[in-house]
Symmetry: C2
Subunit: 217 residues, 2 copies
């Protein structure tokens, strides 16, 4: 059955999912790469970037799961790139070069319309101006029975959590302190929204926590 | 060398160190015992409560460390008990019965004076009305070169963190969602205050994260 999922989303022990001052030089915010330092070592990540080797332990196995059975992705505008406001042209095509790691239809939330952008390897970026519900509806249709993964960033995941539209959330809790940045759960009462932890697995560089929305609610 | 430490302090993945609505029936707040469910299974905890058996794995080993080399404790008023305002009498002597688990001088922060209260097993509760600095000064003197442990709750630890008076902090991150309650790190920029994670160890029921204040700061 098709589910709406978040996978491999890293947070610091003080709750931040990105550092402060995100921009072209700091796509994850200042110190943000510390959040991803579990992922950078995995074979999954290194293969994506055309690099050899990479570790094949627990972190890698769980990162791999995050890409399986995905039929569509949804990304917030900031996760797609640093351009703000109306698109000056179509030159910005994401952080990921000619062949992004999605390989399926990928819906970008934006207030500013732009034609769909096909990329190498099967990814097509579609720009959705109608908000999170429209994006999800289109992503579900495109996914054809497979899962829809909400890629991030924090603000996008927060919106979908508050609307109770996410079925499963895998967080990679990193033993780092960011101090400031984008907080994932602040002022969201996940328990009242029906979410609970169902499993936790220690990886080499992160604690993987699996959160689910109770289906009885 | 004498250090000021926090040990075995549990937080949920959404950052809460106690549930909401703390009172006589809910000393840890509603759902708060879920935070402590790593500790309840350890031999350390069970021996403290005169119970046999108990697990002897990683959680137990780390809980044990939390009691070693302690010369004095500091507790917030709420951690000592549910009584608020002026002490009506001296009948409330903590949550722990006749023999509390401290076994050393234990300083309770309060706005309301009260005579010191000796207990069985070496614990004496001293009531400090002069604030966190006075409590720490008295605790250091009493500790005689051993460590001072700030027992909690969250509000007390937050005050000592903001004053940069804590040297080491061991957090037991529990894979549970509380949704509301007492948040430990909200609006405190621990990184700017000089704190960093130095180690993490997976126990049976919690991720143990060790945080230290950089001594160069």
């Amino acid at each position: 059955m098709s589910k709406v999922v978040v996978r491999s989303f890293a947070v610091s022990i003080d709750g931040f999912a990105a550092g402060p001052d995100q921009d072209l030089r700091h796509p994850l915010g200042v110190n943000g790469p510390e959040l991803m330092d579990w992922f950078f070592h995995t074979r999954v990540w290194r293969e994506m970037h055309g690099q050899p080797d990479g570790e094949t332990g627990t972190d890698n196995r769980i990162a791999q799961l995050g890409f399986e059975h995905m039929g569509a992705w949804i990304l917030g505008r900031n996760m797609f790139g640093p351009v703000r406001g109306a698109w000056p042209d179509d030159s910005w095509k994401g952080w990921w070069g000619d062949e992004p790691p999605y390989h399926v239809p990928t819906f970008v939330l934006t207030h500013h319309p732009r034609p769909s952008q096909p990329m190498a390897g099967g990814t097509t970026f579609h720009f959705v101006t109608g908000g999170i519900h429209e994006a999800l509806e289109r992503a579900r249709t495109a996914a054809g029975g497979r899962n829809v993964r909400i890629g991030g960033g924090a603000a996008t995941i927060r919106q979908y959590l508050q609307a109770r539209l996410i079925d499963e959330l895998h967080l990679a809790i990193r033993p780092v302190i960011l101090g400031s940045g984008e907080h994932l759960m602040r002022d969201i009462n996940l328990r009242d929204l029906g979410y609970e932890c169902v499993e936790s697995v220690q990886g080499e560089r992160a604690l993987h926590v699996f959160v689910r929305r109770r289906t009885s609610d």
